[in-house]
Amino acid sequence: MGVRLEVNGRSIEAEKGETILSALNRHGMHVPTICSMKDLSPSGACRMCVVEVEGSENLVPSCSFPIEGPMKIMTHSPRVLRARKTNVELLLSNHPDDCLYCERNGSCELQSLSEDLNIRERRIPGKRSPHKIDKSSPAIIRDPSKCILCGRCVRICEEIMATSSLDFAHRGNELKISTTLAKPLNYSNCTSCGQCLVACPTGALIEHVQFPELEEHIHAPGKLVVAQYSPAVAVSVAELLGYKPGTDLSGIINAVLRRYGFDKVFETSFGADLMIMEQARIYQDRKRDGQDLPLITSSCPAWIHYAEQYYPELLYLLSPLKSPQQIAGALIREWFPKAEKEEGKEIVSVVISSCTAAKTEAKRVEMTRTGIPTIDLVLTTRELARMIKLSGLDLELLEPELPDAPFYSTGSAGKLCSVAGGEAEATVRTIYAQITGTEIPASKLHRFRINKSYREMIVKAGKTEIRMGTVSGLANAVAVIEELLSGKRKLDILEVMACPDGCINGGGQPIPAVEKLIRSRSKAVYDMDNGSKNHTAHGDPLVQEIYRDLLKEAGGKLSQDLFYTTYLKREVLL
């Protein structure tokens, strides 16, 4: 039902029941918001989106006020602007004045709001509240003094990730965001997915930056610094470097990393290719025995963390494989010195990933060999962008280069793993080929690429049916898993990605992560696959070479040794 609104003297059409904010946005009118986020329940806490409504005594928050009938609205009247400005000034009154030193300098919403509202002096001075910075988590650093208590992290952690590591505690001027019993983050049930730090408007939640540690290793004599980067990084770093969103910068990244001082540059998607090979093998074994199905993927470290905490009884369904970056890392450590005859040198293995949970994963005891971590450093896409800027290279003049042999994928199967649904799709391609002996037509699986958090499809491979499913976002995953447990749903393969839309929307990705940008990232990954000549992991000549020369067969002794691990129940303070 249409309702006519008069906004700033202009008439616009709105739906009955929608919020004023959504009607305004649809007509190209913007009011600033802090606490409001797409897909999350309106909170109405920040009062930044207030507008003047004729007949209403006080200003009205447009983000949560439903339209009931015709209204006269002023979005930028002096009264509204004064209210917004005063509220931002109140937030700034005891905010640390260290913008120059802040991780979020330049991408901070509070900074841009005060810039927009032309706040040029501290008119309302306030007492600082003492806070301790929590650096306990390998992935996330929490600085409560920069927190403006918008509650976005709380809501995303609860509503999207179903984890609730963070919540409000105390009240009034004591109000703070806290973990359970105010313990450090590493004691909490945090999965390090990093969605909170993408959601955070200020620098209160930032990733544990490891980029400066790299300086010690790079160019150091006797050290062989090896990088691997994931395709999710390649398609999204463009956003931070002024390229068109969705540009694949793989070639440029290779060139920059080499010039920056990395001795070798590999692709994580090669690890993903191997993972697919092993996963197909595990699936075939389980299907033959008719037990431990569905096979639930284990490539997402945040999901693994979550499953260990909340579904210990389901761990036997999980694939025993490590994540792609760990598989590639293990291979680099084990195989590389032998093949390249550089045994005298110390290998420093660096992962550039869209994932913050990979930082935590790298510290896991399961991910070490003889006490030495497989991966030394994990950098995020944001850290890579800073490194590229620091390199001082004019990217326009740089010739794209290829990654180093032997660990890069010529096919697109491994690359596909960075979007939600991609891993299931790539695995089914290999399984299909193993069962029928022919390749599955690529278009046959395109129906699996619809934009939904949960997707399901049945693929017929000869006489067998493969029921595949994919789910992204932990809250959605919980819903699907509960259905599996209750027997409502039957699946053969279930891919779980903790972050909504998969790795391309990971916690280490460029901020802001708005819908439009995420779509452009996923489109870039799909374009890679569509444009590729080789769609499968088993068809990749480099993969075939590795299996021929080193691993012998999928599920063989060396693969078991390098790529397999065990996941165990994790006791945690809820």
Binding site: N58, T86, L91, G172
Partner: protein, 643 residues
């Protein structure tokens, strides 16, 4: 006294005029008009207990045991005079009941000795309660004649302090539960809504929204389940009418809840009460248990086909939980933080179902309205605001306690005539009305009739009805600063204007009433700027805060800046407090002529600011002095004075 269930229900169903002589006798017994033995009733409500009524109780028990006198000892609620507690009342068979004030344990034997000799002591008498069929005492004023009671219209407080709050029999014999039985037998849901809407009853918790209209909104919303919530989270410091009502007359509240629940078609009612009200919780729980046993609560109440369950939920005692959306959140087990309205609770409240939240005083008004009809109710108070309102008076007054007056009565009547004004030799400065988010009413506005509209016109609010009286020794800025700090602590912290605004306002106010820590801090210009900023902050907070707490938090500041700006200016420019109550702004001196050099002040000074040699006059170092005034208190020669 055990009474058959049937007799009691029969009593509750009948009109007082239709009672048979038998039943009249029964009623008189139950109402304690005819008593077999002497009856002593002790105020065991919180105000009484604080004053020592439990020790008085023990003394009475001991007195009776020692002298082997057969007396009935019963608990009762507060009669409203909190400052006069422990209040006890004594009734001898055939005689009127007399109320006595301040009967501490040691006064018990004297008092009872006199009374049993049919003599009334001169002191401690409040008055006697004149009831039919009892012989009045000579030379004892009737309660109705003393000014405190004479000018009040006690409708809701009618039985408070008179009946036994543990006895349903006494409540029913006094006319209780007629209204509820009438409701479930003769009216449909919507008829009750119409009736209450017609009576013009408005919410007594401060908003003044029409109760009937609120019910209708919930009644009209289709849902499988509706809820009625009684808001007993009385968290205004200085307001205690709800507590007194629950402690003194719990059955009236429960009858009101039953009527309201019926009106909106709800089978489930909750009483959300702050956990600090242990005494009230005990009485309400007891009342619910008795009502269940009597079949006045539960399934198919008295074969009417109507089911109702009432349960009590304890809240953690947060000011913000008095706000209905925060209350509902707390009731659901979530953090007590308000949410945006709309949707209003009457369409989507507890568990997403239509929910009506009414306050204790509002609900306690209902039995009277149903029993006597809306026209009777409209005859009390003003046309726009019919009925009475209970005010709780505290501060620098002769009597503190509850006052129930028809709406439209002036503050002057309430404070000067009923309560007796401020102490001897003092001058009334202002009234702080409505708790921490209330307004400061200057003496010039004492004559306005108190209704929701007239107060709003003057920029004031009624709030829950707490009146804090201030005389010339109370500092306006200091009080406002205290309230602002209270609001800052009690803010839930969800929205920016309230959380940060109250914090900054409290800081500004603190800088005005305190000494600067060093020369650089809070110069006069800073403090003056701060005062100017208070106005902007107040307007923005009112404009943008999420709930009533933030919107009303600046009220004390706004009203005092309007009416008492000179006090702010004196604090800022002269660094002195006109009423000398801001301790830090006082400068203390020692009179050289009076000081004997006893050195006690120097020994007791917490800041070590007093120096000198024994037997010679001492001296206060102003830079070190924190203005606490301990030296003044301890000086035996009144040598310490302040400027």
């Amino acid at each position: 006294m055990q009474t058959d269930k049937e007799i009691l229900i029969k009593l509750a169903q009948q009109n007082p005029s239709e009672l048979s002589p038998d039943e009249l006798g029964q009623t008189a017994l139950l109402r304690k008009i005819q008593i077999p033995r002497p009856l002593v009733m002790v105020n065991s409500s919180t105000s009484g207990i604080v004053a020592g009524s439990m020790r008085t109780w023990e003394a009475i028990e001991q007195y009776a045991a020692e002298r082997s006198i057969d007396i009935d000892l019963a608990e009762t609620g507060s009669i409203g005079l909190s400052s006069e507690d422990p209040v006890i009342s004594v009734q001898l068979p055939g005689r009127c009941r007399i109320f006595f004030s301040r009967i501490t344990a040691e006064k018990v034997s004297c008092l009872l000795d006199d009374l049993f000799h049919r003599e009334v002591p001169d002191q401690h008498v409040i008055g006697q309660l004149i009831r039919e069929g009892q012989e009045p005492w000579k030379d004892v004023p009737s309660l109705e004649d003393i000014p405190y009671f004479a000018l009040q219209s006690r409708i809701v407080l009618e039985s408070c302090g008179i009946i036994d709050p543990f006895s349903l029999e006494e409540y029913i014999a006094g006319g209780g539960y007629r209204a509820f039985l009438l409701t479930i037998r003769s009216y449909t849901f919507s008829e009750v809504c119409d009736l209450v809407s017609d009576s013009g009853l408005r919410g007594r918790s401060g908003g003044g929204f029409s109760t009937g209209e609120k019910w209708k909104a919930a009644f009209r919303t289709p849902s499988d389940q509706k809820f009625l919530v009684c808001n007993a989270e009385e968290s205004d410091p200085g307001a205690f009418m709800d507590r007194t009502l629950m402690e003194g007359d719990p059955f009236r509240l429960l009858e009101g809840i039953s009527i309201a629940a019926y009106a909106i078609g709800s089978n489930r009612a909750y009483i959300y009460i702050r956990s600090e009200y242990k005494n009230a919780i005990r009485r309400i729980n007891n009342a619910i248990k008795i009502l269940r046993e009597m079949g006045l609560l539960g399934d198919n109440i008295l074969d009417s086909g109507y089911n109702l369950q009432i349960s009590l939920r304890k809240g953690p005692g947060a000011f913000v939980c008095g706000e209905e959306t925060a209350l509902i959140a707390s009731l659901e087990g979530r953090r007590g933080i308000p949410s945006s309205k709309p949707p209003y609770p009457s369409t989507s409240g507890y568990l997403g179902r239509p929910t009506v939240v009414n306050n204790v005083e509002t609900l306690s008004n209902l039995p009277g309205i149903i029993r006597n009809g809306p026209d009777w109710f409209k005859g009390i108070g003003t046309t726009e605001c019919p009925g009475t309102k209970i005010f709780s008076i505290s501060g620098r007054v002769k009597l503190t306690g509850l006052v129930e007056v028809p709406l439209g009565t002036s503050f002057d009547t309430i404070v000067n005539k009923i309560i007796g004004g401020v102490g001897k030799g003092r001058e009334l400065k202002a009234l702080h009305v409505g708790g921490p988010s209330g307004c400061m009413v200057p003496v010039e506005l004492m004559d306005i009739p108190v209704t929701y509209e007239t107060l709003k016109e003057k920029g004031l609010i009624m709030g829950s009805g707490g009146i804090f009286v201030m005389d010339d020794q109370s500092c306006v800025v200091n009080t406002v600063s205290y309230f602002m700090e209270y609001m800052n602590k009690q803010s839930c912290g969800k929205c920016i204007p309230c959380r940060e605004g109250t914090r900054r306002m409290a800081e500004i106010l603190r800088s005005i009433i305190r000494k600067p820590a060093d020369e650089e801090e809070h110069t006069t210009l800073d403090r003056f700027k701060g005062m100017m900023r208070l106005e902007t902050l107040a307007e923005v907070m009112k404009d943008t805060s999420l709930c009533g707490l933030g919107q009303n938090a600046p009220n004390p500041v706004v009203s005092t800046l309007k009416y008492f700006k000179n006090e702010y200016e004196e604090h800022i420019f002269d660094r002195r407090c006109p009423s000398n109550s801001c301790t830090e702004l006082r400068s203390w001196f020692i009179d050289v002529d009076l000081c004997t050099g006893c050195s006690i002040c120097a020994k007791r000074c917490p800041a070590e600011a007093i120096i000198g040699t024994a037997r010679h006059p001492y001296f206060i170092v102003q830079e070190k002095c924190i203005g606490c005034g301990i030296c003044h208190e301890v000086c035996k020669f009144t040598a310490v004075y302040y400027k």
